[in-house]
């Protein structure tokens, strides 16, 4: 039995924004797969919920004329996995989406909820970070657009201000066109698990077997999903070799803030970063049109 004191449904964005403005205790519920777990666990009590599931304008996935890809926050993971635009242009997000939960959860869980919940383990987050996604946030006061790297404030904490609603996740063409990518979800189970480490790597190649640009997003490597800027800077312009890849892995650890918990030790987490970043990069290189590295 859930401790739900109030439940309302908004049919339009403005209705949602107004309801939130009127009642600051109101919480948004999308798929509910994070929220209900928190209610069950007692982290949230006496919940007052505003469902946004009936707002049709929030579940789109589309490519704009300028090449930007817009993803509505209500897009479910199943939708993302199967969407032709995503599969063609940013397959790394489809890889991340299919690694999430199980079929039933993917049918109901939304990407907006995944991002707004603020978990470092969120499977879409490291890919969205590597893709340098922009978030559109709307409230009765107006609209903000924020790079996803600025959205994460701390464990479970995001820059979602009172009355604000995420309305779109946008990926600009300069951040995906020409890139190959790969997501590795390292978890204890092959389904229904949170990542011990999530590694998203995108790369772009230049002729002559050169890494033009590399972008690395990590999940569960710190309190929030994070980018590995030092490793990325090192990689840019390097001729591909196993040594370079290993050095990228080594440098990625420097951006991480791994710690020991009963789930895994810091030492093991860092070892995994060092091992899996090059593995993901190797595959990303192939996806970007490069060759296999012996």
């Amino acid at each position: 039995m859930y401790d739900i004191q109030d439940y309302q449904e908004a049919l339009t964005l403005s209705e949602a924004a107004e309801t939130l403005a009127r009642n600051p205790r109101m919480r948004i519920i999308a798929g509910g797969t994070d929220l209900l777990i928190k209610l069950h666990g007692g982290q949230i009590e006496a919940a007052e919920l505003l469902s946004i599931r009936k707002i049709e304008a929030l579940s789109h996935i589309e490519k704009m004329p300028d090449g930007a890809i817009g993803i509505g926050p209500l897009a479910t993971f199943t939708q993302i996995t199967q969407d032709p635009v995503i599969k063609t242009d940013i397959p790394i997000l489809a890889e991340a989406a299919v690694s999430m939960g199980g079929p039933q959860i993917r049918n109901i869980a939304t990407i907006g909820g995944n991002v707004c919940n603020g978990a470092t383990s969120a499977d879409s987050a490291s890919s969205l970070l590597a893709l340098e996604a922009e978030l559109t946030l709307i409230s009765s006061r107006g609209t903000r657009v924020l790079p996803i790297s600025e959205f994460y404030l701390g464990p479970g904490k995001v820059d979602l201000r009172a009355g604000e609603l995420l309305t779109e996740i946008r990926i600009l063409p300069q951040h995906y066109v020409g890139f190959g990518g790969h997501y590795i979800k390292f978890a204890m189970r092959k389904a229904m698990d949170i990542a011990t480490l999530g590694v998203a790597v995108l790369c772009k190649l230049e002729t002559g077997n050169i890494l033009a640009e590399v972008k690395i997003g990590l999940g569960v490597a710190g309190p929030t999903p994070l980018r590995c800027l030092e490793a990325e800077a090192y990689a840019a312009g390097k001729v591909i070799s196993m040594d370079v890849l290993n050095e990228v892995g080594r440098l990625a650890i420097r951006s991480a803030k791994a710690r020991t918990s009963w789930r895994a030790s810091k030492e093991y987490r860092e070892h995994l970063i060092q091992e899996l970043v090059p593995r993901a990069l190797r595959e990303a290189i192939v996806q970007a049109g490069g060759g296999e590295i012996a």
Binding site: G102, M188, K190, I194, R263
Partner: protein
């Protein structure tokens, strides 16, 4: 032996009910004005309850009762689901109160609330004020046994619940005669059953002042007795009803919540009260598997004959005895039917700690023992540079062997054939050859392990079973058994047995799946892999009695002597030719309505089985270890079983799939974790407790070597628990083969594998 229905993969008798949702489980029943019960649990691992103030909770609107230690009978009772023992010195350890005045683990029940709904009950729990006096928390057996440690139960010095072991043969002599000694230490983990349906029961007082309890249990008749004992009321005042059950694996071979549910209804004047544990509660306050630490030392000849074995074991039973006192003993007895070891000394210590209660769980001490034994045998083979399969073959027990302690006699054994079959299925020789020179980050290896087990508990426990059959007017029958269907398929197997004896198609055998202690014949329930073998004897006996009565009745109708008659295809036939004498339906109708001879045919039998039969089996596994991440992947796995006659091959295969999957979790990922300082549970939920999903489960190969067990009806032996026994050591041995590193601690999860490989210099 050729049977018509026994040995056929007929569909489960409850399949349609279950897939259409018509099968009713405890939570599917509704009573008018049903209240909700909730438990207040101790936040401390070890603490005296100095004072409880329930005033505020009682004042909350919607609260019907608040119970504490003061409101329940001050009677210590035992919860273990064993048959009662008339000999007081063999009775289960009575160390529990319905609500305690001393918390012995984080989660121990110190108070309870009955309220109109769950939210009110939860709110009321928060309003109960408890003053605790914290005691030193003893979170390992070592801490619990050390000099001067506080006693968890005052009557158990050094917190040792039991240290009964055994010795056989002359171990000193064996040690002197040995060419080589091999020693090893092995450690298993705390795991939980994770049955699909959580523990749940509801209770009310009926118009005759009797307490009716509907509960998800494996042992309705035993629960009746335990509730009677716990409340100090005549056992006949308790009626226990067991509807469909969604799994138990031993966690429901125990009276976990029924005494409290009964106390709750009594506290509200008999109004129905439901107590429905959440998964989180279920994982800490029902039962778990005992974690064991073993020290083994073996005396060997240089060609690998085992002369003697010294086994020391420490078993962590947690806060209350439950089955603890018998599990180390059971683990120490059932492995003895595998290898002919002339001298064994077994020294177990079962120790109380301030952790959740360990109890019965599929295999009952044997998964732990088989793990240690089969790791040890592998280590011996390695040390002596012998083939691990040959060394096992060299030491196997033969048919005719009588165990000197239990006096159980081996009358059938297919263990050699199981080994041969497993070896062929996995293509052992070819793969071994291929994996000789491996380089790179991923290494493959092969391993196997064998086991012996038992069918029921004889001679340690009473093995009584009851069955009742009624012949209907149309020639169909009802079958009632005291044995409980909990998902394993026993109803179907019993129906097949009846159909076989009476010459009926399956749809003419109606099984009454529900057990009700007022109505059902006495049987102690689903545990110890006993039902097909033990309860099967009662079922066959009941069916044979019906058959004899039908043939006798037909004799009266036709003048053909019963001994010349048989039943086949719903007819009474001539035994010698099969020629139809009279349709069974006509006979059945006459038994009801013949104006002179009418006497409806029933049978109601009980069977006290004073025998045991030993099932055997093996696991063969092939793994791939990622040396860089510590991940172990099972590429192929086969379980081959000798369980005598297989009554229903498809269901038997399902049983093996479930057991192997449980064994894989035991080997690689499952483990209950607690804060080492406070004893607080860290992962009592299915996200953090790594029960494998179907995606983590490889294709499981299953094969049977069918023997005919003379003591079993239709030649059966047990298959319930055995599939879970040998996967973990087989996987461990495969990892040893792949990496050269011996993992002597379960589970072999990536973090642990990483640490070990690093130690070994492989990372």
């Amino acid at each position: 032996m050729a049977y018509t229905i026994v040995g056929k993969s007929v569909p489960r008798v409850d399949a349609v009910a279950k897939v259409t949702g018509k099968a009713k489980y405890t939570d599917d029943f509704f009573e008018r004005d049903m209240l909700v019960g909730k438990v207040l649990r101790s936040p401390y691992a070890h603490a005296l309850v100095k004072h409880i103030d329930t005033t505020k909770a009682k004042e909350l609107p919607g609260v019907k009762a608040v119970l504490t230690y003061h409101d329940v009978p001050q009677i210590r009772f035992a919860t273990a689901g064993h048959p009662f023992n008339l000999d007081p010195s063999h009775q289960d350890k009575a160390d529990r109160l319905i609500l305690t005045d001393k918390a012995r683990f984080v989660g121990d029940a110190v108070a309870a609330v009955v309220a109109m709904d769950e939210l009110i009950a939860e709110e009321a729990l928060r309003l109960i004020e408890v003053e605790y006096e914290e005691l030193e928390a003893l979170l390992t057996p070592e801490a619990a046994m050390k000099e001067g440690a506080p006693l968890i139960h005052e009557d158990c010095p050094h917190n040792i619940l039991s240290d009964r072991g055994f010795w056989m043969g002359n171990l000193e002599e064996a040690f002197l005669a040995a060419d080589t000694m091999v020693e090893g230490e092995y450690e298993t983990s705390m795991v939980q059953h994770c049955h699909l349906e959580n523990h749940i029961s509801y209770a009310y007082v009926d118009a005759h002042d009797r307490i009716v309890i509907v509960t998800s249990t494996q042992i309705p008749h035993i629960v009746r007795r335990i509730v009677g004992q716990a409340l100090g009321i005549p056992w006949g005042r308790v009626r226990v009803i067991k509807p469909y059950v969604g799994g138990g694996f031993g966690a429901k071979q125990d009276a976990c919540l029924e005494p409290l549910t009964a106390a709750m209804t009594l506290a509200v004047g008999g109004q129905p009260v439901k107590l429905n544990y959440s998964r989180e509660e279920c994982m800490i306050d029902t039962r778990r598997r005992h974690d064991f630490k073993f020290k083994m030392k073996s005396a060997l000849t240089k060609d690998g004959k085992i002369l003697g074995m010294h086994i020391q074991a420490i078993s962590n039973t947690g806060a209350y005895a439950s089955h603890g006192h018998s599990i180390a003993g059971a683990g120490g007895s059932k492995f003895r039917y595998l290898y002919a070891i002339p001298a064994i000394k077994y020294e177990p210590k079962t120790v109380y700690t301030n952790l959740p209660v360990a109890g019965a769980m599929r295999g009952y001490g044997s998964p732990q023992m088989v793990y240690a034994l089969e790791c040890h045998i592998e280590d011996i083979a390695k040390k002596l540079n012998l083939d691990p399969i040959e060394i096992r073959q060299k030491n196997l027990i033969e048919i005719g062997h009588v165990d000197p302690l239990s006096q159980n006699k081996i009358m059938s054994s297919g263990i050699r054939e199981c080994i041969d079959k497993g070896k062929a299925l996995i293509r052992w020789e070819a793969k071994k050859e291929g994996y000789r020179q491996q380089m790179g980050d991923k290494r493959r290896g092969l391993g196997m392990a064998a086991f012996s087990y038992a069918s029921g508990t004889h001679p340690v426990g009473l093995e009584i079973a009851g069955a009742r059959i009624v012949l209907n007017q149309d020639g169909s029958v009802q079958l009632q058994i005291g044995a409980t269907e909990i998902g394993q398929g026993s109803d179907t197997v019993f129906a097949q047995m009846v159909a076989e004896v009476l010459g009926l198609p399956m749809d003419r055998v109606h099984v009454v799946s529900e057990q009700d202690t007022d109505l059902t014949p006495f049987d102690t329930g689903a545990y110890a892999s006993r039902q097909t073998y033990i309860s099967g004897m009662a079922v066959k006996k009941a069916a044979e009695e019906i058959k004899a009565k039908i043939l006798d009745f037909t004799w009266g109708m036709t003048d053909i002597p019963a001994h010349a008659l048989d039943l086949k295809g719903q007819n009474v036939v001539y035994k010698h030719s099969g020629e139809v004498v009279i349709p069974l339906e006509d006979v059945a109708l006459s038994t009801y309505y013949d104006t002179v001879f009418a006497q409806p045919i029933t049978s109601d039998v009980s069977n006290n089985a004073r025998v045991n039969a030993v099932p055997y089996g093996v696991t063969f596994a092939e793994v791939e270890v990622d040396l860089k991440t510590g991940k172990i992947e099972i590429l192929e796995i086969y379980n081959v079983h000798d369980s005598g006659t297989i009554v229903n091959p498809l269901m038997a295969e399902g049983q093996v799939h479930g057991g192997v999957s449980m064994g894989i979790g035991y080997a690689l990922s499952e483990q209950l974790l607690f804060d080492p300082k406070t004893g607080k549970p860290l992962n009592n939920n299915l996200l953090d407790y790594k029960l494998p999903t179907i995606m983590d489960t490889p294709e499981i190969g299953v094969a049977f070597v069918e023997t005919h067990e003379p003591t079993g009806s239709f030649g059966v032996k047990s298959l319930g628990e055995p599939p879970a026994l040998s996967p973990a050591p087989a996987i461990r041995n495969a990892v040893l083969d792949a990496t050269g590193v011996a993992f002597n601690q379960l589970p072999m999860n990536p973090q642990r594998v990483f640490e070990k490989l690093k130690q070994a210099g492989l990372i």
